[in-house]
């Protein structure tokens, strides 16, 4: 059994492995950064740490999150940098068993980010790899 954080991105309920999550914070005043890929929403200062804010919708190529006002973000560490993953909302922390494999027919945008599925009661929830959200959409093959 392992702990999972259940959140919503682009009207989809997803799970993130709790071991990889630092905290959940409210983010406002994102400092925009020009000339970066669209999934990088900007920078945010969490006390004295500067976090890179990731628009998870843009990472999954499902549009963009409205970046004004206060947002919920999941803090993750990735290759010794800290990121704030913007999500629509955080629902719960649950305990669940080993993830199953992904469903065969998954939209392309989710397929790359999904590590498998976990079960909450009778509901199957996609388990998302935070690192793929940080990395953003794959560059188009030239």
């Amino acid at each position: 059994m392992a702990l999972y954080l259940i959140a919503r991105i682009a009207d989809e309920t997803i799970a993130l492995p709790a071991t990889e999550i630092g905290s959940v914070v409210e983010v406002d005043q994102i400092a925009a950064v020009p000339r970066v890929p669209p999934h990088v929403a900007g920078l945010f200062a969490l006390r004295s740490r500067v976090l890179t804010v990731i628009d998870t919708r843009a990472s999954l190529e499902l549009g963009a999150i409205d970046r004004t006002g206060e947002k919920t973000a999941v803090i993750v560490e990735c290759e010794s940098h800290s990121y704030a993953l913007l999500v629509d909302e955080v629902e719960d922390v649950i305990e669940a068993g080993q993830p199953d494999s992904c469903p065969a027919l998954l939209p392309a945008s989710w397929r790359r980010a999904a590590r498998g599925t976990i079960r909450r009661d009778e509901q199957a929830i996609l388990l998302i790899d935070p690192a793929t959200l940080v990395a953003g959409p794959e560059p188009l093959a030239a």
Binding site: P34, V50, G136
Partner: protein
């Protein structure tokens, strides 16, 4: 006890502790290569440090252990129990000596010899293993445990410092927040005083905690003069050390990581690079060798350069060594270029030294140097000019360094620029500093110097294409400069720069992130990166949008074509031409060897490619670089055309910058820079009037008169010398040479008139006036 010694003792003790396990493991399995290497590196490092700390005992011990281990490493000797014991005994001895050093005690020296003798190859056969082993034991458990002095320095894990740093930064932010709240609430003076005190304490604490992480690179450099002095004395060489850039601040951890590599490099330079004085004399170099060590911040890196003027490294020799050592095959070597071959010196087990000395040359060193630098994310580059010297450049990242920066803004967003990259700050205003559009791109003219403009707002996609309010002139490295257009300049601040996320760094325009006291994250700009990205962007926009027309507009500059006085068609960039004027020829004034022209109430220097025409009116171009003005005499204006920006440069500096093609015909372009600097004295060229000086044997004529005439724009020949072309005028202090048909100017030795038309020989103006009258009259 000085800091270096303290550091050495702490470091030796620490390594010994870490090595304890390795030693036991090696004893159990003497064939274990990795363990052997670790022990070898330890004694090697000790040897190196002892060399410049002047600890001969430790040096002798470590050197002999290193010798023995090197034999094992090269396969010349198989490690047996006796050797292992002997090496272990030496390592223990090193530990004891280090302890004794700290406690300021001395240990009996006699035992050293015994330990060193035990290392000898045949020692094992003479001393039974059973007897050799106790040597180690005796030293592991000394009869009287040495009393350690209480140390005043401690070593801390860097993570702890990081946590402290983050904590104090949070505290500063909390203080700022509190200050805001107190201002809003309106408080009594008692609260204000208390808050002030707290605020001061927090500030001081931040400074001292920041200092625990940062230190000036000086600390690293301060050991060098002594080391260079001692080493060069040992080696019988004279070396002058130049150290520069000690005030660059660097992460303490980084400095520690650089210390050993730098020591290695300096030793190598002294031992193998710089030659002995006799050899240097033979090679025609100054007897005293030069070693330069400098540090500076370059974009988001600290660059440390070590260069010497010694013999350099011959890449071919490195390759031969590498082939002999079996590191590369002859075929592989043949396919390598010079720098590839040179890079082989970073391979483990390769040394270019033919003999092993106590200083360096055992083939460890450069590989360790590179490994250490790469571990902290740096790079090592080597440049060798055989016979002339060697330069090693260490580049280490700037991360976690504090750098002074200028905060600017564009489109409402703040950015930081490292102050070290800033040349000056100017406001476009008037003629001195102005921005123009050439081919759709902004170009700044700052006191006559043209610089490309990168408008920060537009570059970042934050604003429309507007002319910027302020220009920050930046050095992009490699002598390249550009002007960054910004809306406003805010503050000079010391900023703690941290690495930005890879997605941000990939843009190539940021060097890191920083958090100023207002707790709004800010990005540090990569000055060189912006230059690179901006020019790429330019090239792309040319390709994307109407390629042909854009390119033409991009590359062509409006140019004024004219026929010069010497009949040649020349061009000058229209931007330089202020106006075209006709002036009376007689208004040209000769003054101190120059021709001047009164223009708009000011005397302006007149440049002419040939003698002035004998017409009443003279046509001149008034050229201006925004500050200085210059008149250029021409025959007539031909046209204004678009001429390509690239030109075939003239091989020598002169009034002609180079040649461009226009309608298939070459056009000489004037070099405004040369005109504004050098043309003031209108030096002689082949079209200048020829002046014959009759008194070939008179030293005054040669040494005083001839240079004066040359500076005034005449070609000077002495009587009896071959002359080409017509002689315009003859100058003499005595009689005119026979058979030359030219006007004669006579000089006399006294200021008082002699009743004839002669000119006093120090009446420079009179002489030049007379000459120009004759020359003009002769045409």
């Amino acid at each position: 006890m000085d800091d270096l010694l303290t550091d050495f003792i702490a470091e030796t003790r620490e390594t010994l502790e870490a090595l304890a396990g390795e030693i036991v493991a090696w004893e159990a399995n003497p064939e274990d290569r990795a363990r052997l290497d670790a022990i070898f590196r330890f004694v090697h490092t000790v040897k190196g440090s002892c060399g410049f700390l002047d600890l001969p005992r430790l040096q002798r011990l470590s050197h002999s252990a290193e010798d023995a281990l090197a034999e094992v490493r090269s396969g010349a000797r198989t490690p047996d129990a006796a050797l292992v014991s002997a090496v272990l005994a030496i390592i223990d001895r090193i530990g004891e000596l280090a302890d004794a050093l700290e406690a300021n005690e001395t240990l009996a020296e006699g035992e050293d010899e015994f330990l060193i003798a035990a290392l000898a190859r045949d020692a094992g056969s003479n001393i039974p293993v059973a007897e050799a082993a106790p040597i180690a034991k005796i030293n592991v458990l000394p009869a009287t445990p040495p009393t350690r002095a209480v140390s005043r320095s401690i070593r801390l894990p860097v993570e702890l410092l990081d946590r402290m740093m983050a904590g104090v930064s949070d505290m500063v932010l909390a203080r700022n927040e509190l200050a805001r709240l107190l201002r809003v609430a309106g408080t009594t003076s008692a609260v204000d005083v208390a808050f002030e005190r707290l605020s001061l304490c927090v500030g001081e604490m931040r400074d001292s905690i920041t200092r625990t992480r940062m230190s000036r690179i000086e600390g690293l450099f301060s050991a060098l003069p002594r080391m260079v002095r001692d080493l060069s004395a040992d080696l019988g060489k004279s070396v002058k050390l130049e150290v520069d850039g000690g005030d660059v601040e660097l992460d303490r951890e980084m400095i520690e990581m650089i210390r050993d590599p730098l020591t290695h490099i300096v030793r190598n330079a002294l031992d193998h690079g710089i030659e002995k004085p006799e050899e240097r004399c033979r090679a025609g170099k100054p007897e005293i060798g030069r070693l330069r060590i400098g540090a500076r911040q370059s974009a988001n890196q600290i660059l440390i350069e070590v260069s010497d003027d010694g013999r350099g490294i011959d890449a071919e020799r490195v390759v031969r060594k590498a082939i002999t050592a079996g590191l590369v095959t002859a075929e592989q070597a043949a396919a390598m270029n010079w720098s590839g071959k040179l890079d082989l010196i970073f391979e483990p087990g390769l040394s270019t030294a033919d003999s092993v000395t106590g200083v360096s040359g055992r083939g460890v060193g450069m590989d360790v140097v590179r490994a250490n630098i790469e571990r902290i994310g740096g790079t090592v580059d080597i440049e060798s000019m055989p016979g002339q010297g060697l330069r090693l450049s260490l580049r280490v990242p700037l991360t976690l360094t504090i750098i002074p920066a200028l905060t600017v803004s564009a489109g409402g967003t703040h950015f930081a620029i490292p102050r070290s990259a800033i040349d000056e700050l100017v406001r476009p205003k008037g003629d001195q500093v102005r921005i123009e559009r050439i081919g759709g791109e902004q170009v700044a003219f700052i006191r006559g110097v043209r610089l490309p403009v990168v408008d920060l707002g537009r570059f970042m996609g934050l604003t429309e294409d507007v002319l910027p309010a302020l220009l920050v002139v930046l050095r992009a490295g490699g002598g390249e400069r550009y002007a960054l257009g910004v809306e406003a300049v805010h503050d000079h601040e010391e900023l703690v720069v941290k690495p930005a996320a890879p997605a941000l760094m990939a843009s190539g325009v940021y060097a890191g992130t920083t958090l100023p006291d207002n707790s709004r994250p800010m990005l540090l700009l990569d000055v060189a990166g912006i230059a690179a990205v901006a020019s790429i962007g330019l090239a792309q926009s040319v390709v994307e949008e109407r390629p042909v027309e854009r390119r033409k507009a991009e590359a062509a500059l409006p140019t004024l074509l004219f026929r010069d006085l010497d009949g040649v068609t020349r061009g000058v960039r229209l931007a330089l031409v202020e106006r075209i004027e006709d002036v009376p020829t007689e208004s040209v004034v000769e003054s101190s060897g120059m021709q001047m022209l009164p223009l708009q109430g000011r005397l302006t220097k007149l440049y002419r490619a040939a003698a002035l025409p004998a017409t009443e009116r003279l046509r001149v171009l008034r050229l201006s670089d925004g500050e200085a003005a210059l008149a250029y005499a021409i025959e007539q204006v031909i046209d204004v055309v678009e001429l390509r920006a690239e030109l075939a440069p003239a091989p020598v500096a002169g009034p002609i910058a180079g040649v461009v093609l226009h309608d298939g015909a070459p056009i000489e372009l004037l070099d405004p820079y040369w005109l504004f600097t050098s043309a003031i004295l209108a030096p002689a060229n082949d079209d200048s009037p020829l002046c014959l000086v009759a008194d070939a044997d008179d030293p005054w004529a040669r040494e005083v008169l001839a240079p004066l005439l040359g500076a005034a724009g005449y070609r000077v020949r002495f009587a009896g010398e071959p002359t080409e072309g017509r002689i315009s005028v003859i100058v003499t202090t005595g009689s005119a040479p026979h058979g030359v048909d030219a006007p004669v100017v006579r000089l006399r030795g006294t200021p008082d008139g002699a009743g004839d038309d002669s000119i006093y020989r120090y009446d420079r103006d009179g002489l030049l006036r007379a000459l120009s009258q004759h020359v003009a009259g002769g045409k």
